[in-house]
Symmetry: C2
Subunit: 341 residues, 2 copies
Amino acid sequence: METLRKRRGTGRVTLADVAKSAGVGAMTVSRALRTPEQVSDKLRDKIQQVVEELGYIPNQAAGALASGKSDSIALILPSFTDKICCDFIPFFQEILNQAGYQLIIGYSSYSITQEEQLLSTLLANNPAAVVLFGSEHSAQTVKLLKNSQAAVLEIAEINELCIDLNVGTDHYQSSKEMTRYLIKQGFQKIAFVGARSEQSILRKQLRGWQAAMLENYLAPDHFLTSNDEPNIELGSEGVAKLLLQQPDLDAFIFSHEEIAMGALFECQRRVLQIPKDIALTCLDGSTFSEKCIPRLTSIEINYAKMAKKAARRLLERLTGEDQGTSKQIDIGFKLCERASS
Amino acid sequence: METLRKRRGTGRVTLADVAKSAGVGAMTVSRALRTPEQVSDKLRDKIQQVVEELGYIPNQAAGALASGKSDSIALILPSFTDKICCDFIPFFQEILNQAGYQLIIGYSSYSITQEEQLLSTLLANNPAAVVLFGSEHSAQTVKLLKNSQAAVLEIAEINELCIDLNVGTDHYQSSKEMTRYLIKQGFQKIAFVGARSEQSILRKQLRGWQAAMLENYLAPDHFLTSNDEPNIELGSEGVAKLLLQQPDLDAFIFSHEEIAMGALFECQRRVLQIPKDIALTCLDGSTFSEKCIPRLTSIEINYAKMAKKAARRLLERLTGEDQGTSKQIDIGFKLCERASS
DNA sequence: GCGCTACCTGATAGCGCTACCAAATGTGTG
DNA sequence: CACACATTTGGTAGCGCTATCAGGTAGCGC
């Protein structure tokens, strides 16, 4: 009987087990799995067979430690319920998974402090890249990122001062364009209702609306914002409050679809004709805007496209094939003109 | 000059650096961070200070390798857009993060093959636990899970044959209860429209509806299912097609809120009075059901509660404090009676 | 044949951390 | 003061894998 004072392995099949069983060296097995082209056909097949036979699953921790590289990518999102996040993740993940990366997802609930804390935990995994939402981060977050050798990607908003890579859209422009469009349609008293008022996205949208109003000599006086998450109540309340304040408002811009939904219900309750009495539009439309009655004019942002561009751009960076490629990608937006205006 | 032929470290601050700088042994630093109560106050403070000074971040891979344990939990969800997933993740993650675990999230798009493939990749991280959605998995998936020493948790559906832990609700019962409720309200010609028809959740809902109809001597003849994801079109189409088939239907049950949304629009288009002409209900209601006009009677499932119970139960298992605790938790559901019926 | 390159394979030495033991230090008892 | 005993600390040997280098084999031209 052996002295087994020292801890033994976990009992799982290791690379060494495969090597012994296949009658080759450990390195050859490692190469057969990681860089198959460096191994002769004969041995590669043999090894592949033994791998399947024994049900070998590589130990990621050991690999990461030995190589100093890691195949994990940290993704910190502010929310999982927001449309952008839900639409973004699957496409992003799919492409990265195919390239052999794992997503580790964290959730900051729109707090830069929580983002920072999460980041420092996630960095313990030594991720190949860190993906952050938005452009607002704590100083410490930025410092941690610069100290780590991880690639950094900021998504959602176009941000001139981005840390490294940046894929997003310009919320100032889209809001401005919507407002201009409404003005061109003959609407004049255009109100704005937005949620997550402390986020820079909303601030940009608000500024876009203001700018378009001012350039047409209209007063951007009627708006309502809340720092809560977008919800149906805000839409109902917004319509109610602003109409009380100024009964002859003729159009509304909502930052999010959920808010527009509440506004639509409120207008139904008041038996207001859309768009005759009032126009409703939103800056973040998708299925509801497209299907409700009447259909809502909205800005549509293609989050699937954003996810794909972001994933591809990130992979370029990780493989080092991104010489001369732009660090910033603006995925644009689409103004969808529909019945509500 | 030293010969530095052998690769050097990554350049990051290591535990050894901290130990040297604090003038203590490496083990003491390790303990100070992992089991602080085993280190004297003086040294613990000293070490903590050096850690902050140097900005030391532990290398998770090394720790996992050395200890054979891992603080990652693999979560494989079928979708990121489904309400259940969006609502589930944040609460689940929050509790587990606080307990020091990291979530690694994968996405199977409702395919058990993809689930299996994802699982085998995720197992390379040697996760402490694997969380799966639903009760349907490939044989290979079950085998992989049994071979790994990871705890296994299946969420969403109550499943008598669960692999290990199980937290969810009974979709057969909730559907049956909704049908019984409608019958008690005097509705008789009750139709069913559901999405994701190949998922066991939908099959259970369909069976619940059928059972309740049959026990009241009503024929469960009018139903429409689609294997697509729930969407607004299916609601509009479902109402249109089934009313064509049987014009005097007096009630509908929809598996998902999105479908009910489409149905509601279709009824508005047809100027049908709800619930006088027709009742609309859904089995997976949340904000829309509660806020739309008229408000929809629906089954509400508390996903936040599900996430919390699931996380707590899992932690009990991981810390081994779950002797005598049930492996299965039914979180129930609530029938919310509203204006639409 | 020899020298040369090109390719394949394997032995070795870590990657940074923690389990394990052993040693050192403090604490209380006879 | 010697002794057992608990508490705190440190040295050592891996965890399973890969980078690196060295050795081996094959193919080619002279």
